[in-house]
Symmetry: C2
Subunit: 351 residues, 2 copies
């Protein structure tokens, strides 16, 4: 069988990014031959080091090159030596916005063997998918500062929500919900306070519900949702929410599902007009960078999402199973280094 | 000793509001004689029933009467028969804004005997105070809708933050931190994305740190904060944050500290220019209203905050101790009704 060529852009980034990406690629290379895909990698040197060296965050020429790729694997972005937000907005958010990654897909699933901080929950209690909007809401950067630095300063920050943006994310969430056994979709927002923005979400939830009669819909305030994440996580199957609420609840979701070391995500452009980008939910963790202490599992599970996105579902399931098997053995093992975990999972998928 | 007269406005509100307020008042009446305070109550009929009857949410004349009171005790507001937000914004938020309740004070403390959903945490691990800004940020209602109901709708929601508003809430938080043993103040925001708003918070955190050299300051992204609430709650002592982030993390805080049935809050105007308002963090819970199932503890702990606010610290400690003692006995008791819990706590403070 001739294999399909995939141009894969790799952005290792800052902190633990390069370490975890190395393990993600190790696993990807181990399964590639059997997947029907051949990966042609280009590594992009972006992040704090480049900013210090050249002042560049994401040159237009690099963004154009990224557009020509089939998919992107990203490690982590951000470093305390760079003003907060410079790299996050200039590189990560800019990529999400320019490549129209309107779906930020974040599974929250407690795998057997994963250590949840919650008492009395079993894997079947936590199995949801958060569909976070990725290209508008409070993340637009719209707003400003008047009388900066004075005692009369006014700082505004605007959440911009469009019918175009809201319709497509809710539609995607309905499709996800329709494909899962429970078929339940919950809108998480704050409709008793943010009435303008939430009204738009509520309208499309109602409107699209008519197209997906098999999906049960529900609504939950974001504040209550955080409570239910820790005391009634079974409430949720698929969640659709805005960019900022999605950011918050998926970190919490990662924590309850075994920690940020396991949480994967996909920044997806479902139209295929631009490459989608896969990245662990965790940050660059500069405090443990370079020490082989980072858990590469979140990146390896992001590779699973990448494989699914590319249509290699069978291979994706094989990697997922290898991660699940590895997790089950963890409680009995001592501490392993980043590369030891990557080796162990790569070995399982090769075997 | 002549007792000080306190005009107390009581707003039982909707759902379980009247039931839990009755128990709060029962306990207040039991301790009043010894507190040096004499309460003169006026009950205000506000909420869903009034709205249905008269279309009124909070008439200006009632707001004016409230201004003339010394303090307010509120149960809960909101009912599914009223469009979401109508009562919350028209009554609850309007009162907070008009009476300039710029401090929304929410202790998050795991009392011995309280049932936390977290494994492996002890009471000493969860003992913080969230100082939530109460009069600006994303709660202003600023924003709007363009081309409503069409496929070209744009809905905006603006967070407005002023030097005046941010300086005073951060100052209050420093004062709280300085008075606690750990003396640690953490700003929770999202400074890598909401750069304008967070910049103002960061500036005053730095600026006021010079006035409070004994207080250690720290910063944490709101997404990471939700994670730390469940896996490293010891990180936090006093938290200062904006109106929306404070709303979210205090519900989560309530959940990890034993549930929403125990979480108290104060909407405080520290200048004394208008009465402060005390209320449980929970909502009106229409599903269990009128059944005697609601836990009145959150309201009773809100009465503790009211007593502290009025300077009756000794009495406040006595009620707090009675709640703590009651909580310790709960695991051994069967289900008790709302009034049985109120009776039990009232009996302890009378004894
Ligand atoms: C780094 C930051 C800008 C980013 C976000 O807020 O989206 C991160 O927290 C995430 O969740 O991917
Ligand atoms: C009812 C609602 C408007 C309110 C808020 O968002 O402030 C509530 O959630 C709270 O925390 O007091």
């Amino acid at each position: 069988m001739a294999s399909r060529n995939i141009r894969l852009a790799v952005i290792p980034g800052d902190g633990i990014g390069p370490e975890v990406v190395a393990e993600g690629l190790k696993v990807l290379e181990a399964v590639a031959p059997a997947s029907g895909l051949a990966f042609e990698q280009t590594t992009y040197d972006l992040g704090a080091a480049r900013w210090h060296r050249t002042g560049e965050v994401l040159p237009d020429s690099v963004l154009d090159e990224l557009r020509g790729q089939d998919a992107i694997l990203l490690g982590a972005i951000g470093d305390p030596s760079v003003p907060s937000g410079t790299l996050e907005r200039g590189l990560l958010l800019r990529t999400r916005f320019e490549l129209d990654h309107y779906v930020n897909l974040r599974p929250v699933k407690l795998l057997p063997g994963a250590a949840t901080p919650l008492a009395n929950v079993a894997p079947e209690d936590i199995d949801m998918v958060v569909v976070r909007e990725g290209t508008e809401g409070p993340y637009t950067g719209v707003g400003g500062v008047l009388r900066k630095g004075t005692e009369h300063e006014v700082a505004t920050q605007e959440s911009v929500n469009t019918a175009h943006g809201v319709e497509r994310i809710i539609r995607y969430a309905f499709e996800q919900a329709a494909a899962r056994p429970r078929r339940k979709l919950t809108l998480v927002h704050k409709d008793n306070v943010l009435t303008f923005a939430a009204g738009l979400y509520q309208r499309y939830l109602r409107q699209l519900a008519a197209e997906f009669p098999q999906v049960e819909t529900d609504y939950c305030h974001v504040d209550a949702a955080t409570m239910f994440f820790v005391n009634q996580p079974r409430r949720f199957d698929v969640i659709v929410t805005d960019n900022l609420f999605g950011d918050i609840i998926t970190d919490l979701g990662a924590a309850v599902a075994g920690g940020i070391g396991l949480a994967a995500s996909g920044n997806i452009n479902p139209t295929g007009a631009a490459p989608s980008m896969f990245e662990p939910v965790h940050g660059s963790a500069p405090d443990i960078a370079g020490q082989g202490k980072a858990d590469p599992t979140a990146t390896i599970l992001s590779v699973v999402m990448l494989l699914d996105h590319l249509g290699a579902a069978e291979t994706a399931r094989r990697v997922e199973q290898a991660v699940a098997d590895d997790l089950l053995e963890r409680p009995g093992l001592g501490a392993r280094s980043t590369s030891q975990i990557g080796d162990a999972i790569a070995k399982r998928v090769s075997g």
